[in-house]
Symmetry: C3
Subunit: 180 residues, 3 copies
């Protein structure tokens, strides 16, 4: 009986790398799949914007620089200019702190962007705001990054881990983004 | 002899974190190095495009807004506009599902982009298509992301894992991208 | 006494997945928090650029296309055009090789970009250089990526690991970026 126990122990004791790595992959996916989803949605939206611009462009072949086309093209450019910034902040916030509030903020950003694009009324492309819409959301995501880094440093150097509290607070705070 | 076995067991049983972490790093690199390679190639291509535009610009100092320069500059802008989208989809697809087909699609995208840039004949910058080339590839990569997420959710909630099958199918399907 | 030892062994031997995963998360954060910090700084800089352009634009409402606005807008566009490339190379270099030199190069890039933006004197937007500034830094980061991939391949196929040496060399080499 002792030998059986020993065997079992031996079997258990070898930390099967394959098993751990598969678990690891699952854990990684668990921590990012919402971010991937939001990224995918934003890509679909980008394609939608591009198709709109293209349609407007080819539809008015006779008068190439119509006001409507200018407007759409400018709104598209403004959206595209902030896109890398948005992606970078979204992923950093999601990885550093927690993915659910980050993904939620990302979804709201996409809604705001859609509204901005559809209702864009800037006459010409003079105003390159780009950061005009979704300022609050980008600020929220940046704050999440910063808090995540500070928490990590505190954990490394002071040994105190407030992650649980911070995540709870962040989840509550993300609801504030719904305020108009 | 029993004490030796016990010792061995004890030695084995401690899951050496350093060892696991190093293994982990290796595993991560194994899963992304093709994506890094494609990203690197795309960066080299970006620099190539920018140098072309710059050369055309400085070479024709007398007539700054020549047709050739306009064309190159516009092709470059269209390529740059889709670049963040391409990168996002490439990495998401590679991480969520499997890197080999994603990297393969990425390489084809780069080839298509090169062809597009060299043979660009749009007279002016009116048409901002950007997504005109490589539509199929972006769609394929987005599909890979979506399938990866769905598979992950099914694995979490239903406990059924079709990853092996999906990866095989994806690898076969990626060959279809070679069709003209 | 033997049973106690066995018990201990058994307790030890189960590789607690929760513990490993938490360790894993810490390890990941350890390896990327400098990159996140640089990304965050670059986002802040982007917002600063956008606000400058916006201020210049709204401040001169009477003459919308003044030279100063044109200049700022063009500098902003050039910076934004290279931004995705910069981010991609920064993260790849940081993940493939080591984060400290990559983050250091990233910081220098941000400083160079700031200088470029503030002192931009290109009259019109004809010259889309974008890669004109920080060429050396982007080259350094790309080299880091390439070396990281080559090292990984050599480790996989030849079994020789020069990572320690390469990281030391990289750290020393990153100081060369400070040369004017």
């Amino acid at each position: 009986m002792l030998s059986v126990m020993l065997k079992m122990t031996l079997q258990h004791s070898e930390p099967d790398p394959q098993f751990i790595l598969e678990n690891m992959f699952e854990a990684v996916m668990d921590n990012i799949f919402l971010l991937v989803l939001v990224t995918l949605l934003s890509v679909v939206q980008n394609v939608f914007f591009a198709l709109k611009v293209e349609k407007e462009c080819t539809g008015q072949h006779s008068k190439p620089h119509s006001a409507a086309f200018e407007r759409l093209s400018c709104a598209n450019r403004n959206c595209m200019d902030t896109y890398p910034t948005f992606l970078a902040v979204l992923w950093c916030a999601g990885i550093c702190l927690s993915q659910a509030p980050a993904a939620f903020a990302g979804i709201i950003y996409l809604v705001v962007r859609q509204k901005y694009f559809v209702g864009y009324l800037g006459q010409t492309c003079q105003s390159t705001p780009g950061f005009l819409f979704g300022k609050r959301i980008l600020f929220f995501l940046s704050l999440m990054c910063a808090v995540g880094i500070i928490n990590h440093l505190m954990l490394s150097y002071c040994g105190s881990d407030y992650k649980e509290y911070i995540q709870t607070i962040t989840k509550a705070a993300s609801a504030l983004l719904l305020l108009p």
